[in-house]
């Protein structure tokens, strides 16, 4: 074809020598973006990184010496596409999520024991305040709870109506399991909201936890007052241990990020938060999974089983399983 003529531009020769490899890379990228990495054969897959690096170095050179703007734009776009392929998400999504459960979630929980403790203390504080104040005088009940959340559990209710909220007729258990699934999504919202609020400097998230603790404290005071303490805790604990832990985990994840926002360290606020998302991601994911399990317990088990000792047995079982999981799973050998 054409001979190399003396008056050819340097940048034209530069392009002629490399264009084939750029085109090859472009073809691979098209195929990856349409059909995934698996669409490439082993040979071309092995060539991808070296083609990517060649294109990157061509871009650096071209920026310094080439004035063909289309070429510069093309190389810029080619290298960034290749960068996204080479450094895009690598592991499969399900694999990554299972990995989180198998080791990184319990690891993150162990690493974040301080904010977790702080969150737990906040919850306990809210609970104690409401429990003590309502215990002295049940008129204070409505300071801590709004009517929508109380669902009939209010100071004017009789022993029997209160007791009825704790036990179910076998007949409508299916209906209640559907209702429980609704409840579950409400509590997940609380978790996510506590997470998101805690990012904004921590306090709003802790406030939400405090309020959650107060709701629980006020209700507990009411049931204790009516002599239903044993039945009340048999109702709340089987799913409550898992659910409240999930709320604590979500808030802890937010606090971890909020800590980065306030005490940023050497990489600036954004850098600190981006780094901390490594621990916060597993925490909040684990919290959602825990909520799912709590929802199952609440929806299926608790509505079907009205026997108080069995309920306590399940509560003990969940507590010990979570302890074993958080203490022992995912430790490096």
């Amino acid at each position: 074809m054409t001979e190399l003529t003396a008056d050819d531009l340097w940048s034209t020769r530069f392009r002629r020598d490399r264009e084939a490899s750029w085109r090859e890379l472009e073809g691979m990228l098209n195929s990856i973006e349409k059909r995934g990495l698996a669409s490439l054969g082993a040979d071309s897959l092995a060539r991808l990184p070296s083609l990517y690096r060649a294109a990157l170095s061509a871009l650096s050179v071209a920026r310094a010496v080439c004035l063909d703007r289309n070429l510069l734009d093309y190389l810029e776009s080619l290298t960034s596409r290749a960068h996204l392929c080479v450094y895009g998400p690598r592991e499969s999504v399900t694999g990554a999520l299972l990995g989180l459960l198998a080791s990184r979630f319990p690891e993150a929980v162990r690493a974040a024991w301080k904010p977790l403790l702080a969150t737990f203390c906040t919850l306990a504080l809210g609970f104690s305040i409401a429990f003590v104040l309502c215990g002295e005088n049940l008129d204070r009940y409505w300071y801590f709870l709004d009517a929508g959340r109380a669902q009939g559990r209010d100071p004017t209710a009789t022993y029997d109506t209160l007791r009825d909220t704790l036990f179910t007729d076998k007949n409508d258990d299916a209906a209640l399991s559907a209702f429980a699934a609704f409840l579950w999504s409400h509590n997940s919202r609380v978790t996510l909201l506590a997470f998101a609020l805690a990012i904004l400097g921590g306090l709003p998230g802790l406030l939400l936890v405090l309020l959650t603790g107060m709701e629980l404290g006020a209700m507990s005071a009411l049931f204790h007052e009516r002599g239903l303490a044993v039945e009340w805790w048999s109702w709340i604990l089987p799913h409550g241990i898992t659910e409240l832990s999930a709320v604590l985990m979500g808030t802890t994840a937010g606090l971890h990020l909020g800590h980065g926002l306030i005490f940023s360290g050497p990489y600036g606020r954004l850098g600190a938060m981006a780094q901390r998302s490594r621990e916060a991601g597993p925490l909040v994911f684990g919290a959602i999974v825990m909520l799912f399990l709590a929802g199952l317990i609440e929806g299926i088990f608790r509505q079907a089983v009205n026997d108080v000792p069995v309920r306590y047995a399940l509560a003990t079982l969940t507590a010990s399983l979570w302890i074993v999981y958080f203490v022992f799973v995912g430790r490096k050998k």
Binding site: V93, A181, S277, A280
Partner: protein, 292 residues
């Protein structure tokens, strides 16, 4: 290249140490993508409700409610952590999620960026549609501050300098336009005569160093644009106008140098000028624009 990048470019440094420029997704594109995604979710949820009410069993309903919630939470995560790095809406709007520091997009970053949505979208929506639940019994200034706060967070992609939403900041991610430039023909390269068909080469025009030294890189690249658009409507007129201006500027007269077609003149002038400027570049001299 020492120009400050415009607001819409995102400069990320690859692990190899080369800076590549990506174009940030605009707030409008992202909003449309989000609406598409929510539409998909809503359609899925409605479909499930219809199916479960048709089947009539409460257990099926409970199952679908759980599925709905999982979908709401994990639709974004699963799509963005997948190899395309984008939800269906983002893919339609040609957007994708990248890590701001140029590193690998991890599942943690995707989880974090998506779990702030409760605060950014759903809480403000609740305020909009169920405000009496929150508003009653608060004084005016509390309402004012709360509304301001609730307005500021979801509108972050519009007012923040880097066009990010809260979740992007927290997860260290950015949303960019998926790059897609085509490699076009090199305008400085001689057209190759078709094989076996000997065409007389176009007359060779020669330019003096003074003539090619007038313009800078900016003008060169504008000329490149004009040449690339010669077959588009209006391209011929643009070429004629540019040719006339260049000829005046470099004191080129058809009488002395011989007459040539507009595109031949422009192509050859482009090649000569690019050669000149690139040579200057090799010597470290970079001329951005002509001296006015």
């Amino acid at each position: 290249m020492n120009v400050t990048p415009p607001r819409h470019t995102l400069r990320i440094e690859t692990p190899e140490g080369v800076v590549v420029n990506l174009v940030r997704g605009s707030a409008a594109d992202r909003a449309v993508a989000f609406v598409i995604d929510m539409g998909i979710l809503l359609a899925a949820i409605i479909a499930m409700m219809v199916v479960s009410s048709y089947l009539g069993s409460m257990w099926v309903l409970a199952f679908f409610i759980s599925l709905t919630f999982l979908l709401r939470i994990f639709y974004f995560v699963v799509c963005e952590a997948g190899r395309r790095g984008a939800t269906i809406g983002k893919r339609l709007m040609k957007l994708r999620v990248v890590r701001a520091d140029g590193g690998q997009l991890t599942i943690d970053a995707v989880l974090t960026r998506n779990f702030t949505r409760e605060l950014e979208i759903f809480l403000p929506l609740t305020f909009l549609f169920a405000h009496e639940q929150f508003w009653v019994g608060h004084s005016g200034w509390v309402k004012g501050i709360a509304s301001l706060w609730i307005l500021l967070i979801p509108t972050m992609p519009i007012w923040s300098r880097a066009r990010v939403r809260l979740g992007d900041l927290v997860g260290g991610t950015r949303v960019v336009r998926a790059p897609q430039a085509l490699l076009l023909a090199d305008m400085a390269r001689r057209r190759e005569p078709a094989a076996g068909n000997a065409v007389a080469p176009a007359t060779e025009l020669t330019f003096t160093a003074a003539q090619v030294g007038i313009y800078g890189i900016y003008e060169l690249q504008v000329l490149e644009d004009v040449l690339r658009r010669k077959s588009q409507p209006g391209g011929k007129e643009a070429m004629a106008a540019v040719t006339a201006r260049i000829k005046t500027k470099i004191r080129w007269s058809d009488a002395v140098h011989g007459k040539s077609a507009d595109h031949t003149f422009l192509e050859q002038f482009y090649a000569a000028q690019r050669k000149h400027l690139e040579q200057q570049l090799l010597f470290g001299k970079r001329k951005e624009r002509k001296k006015s």
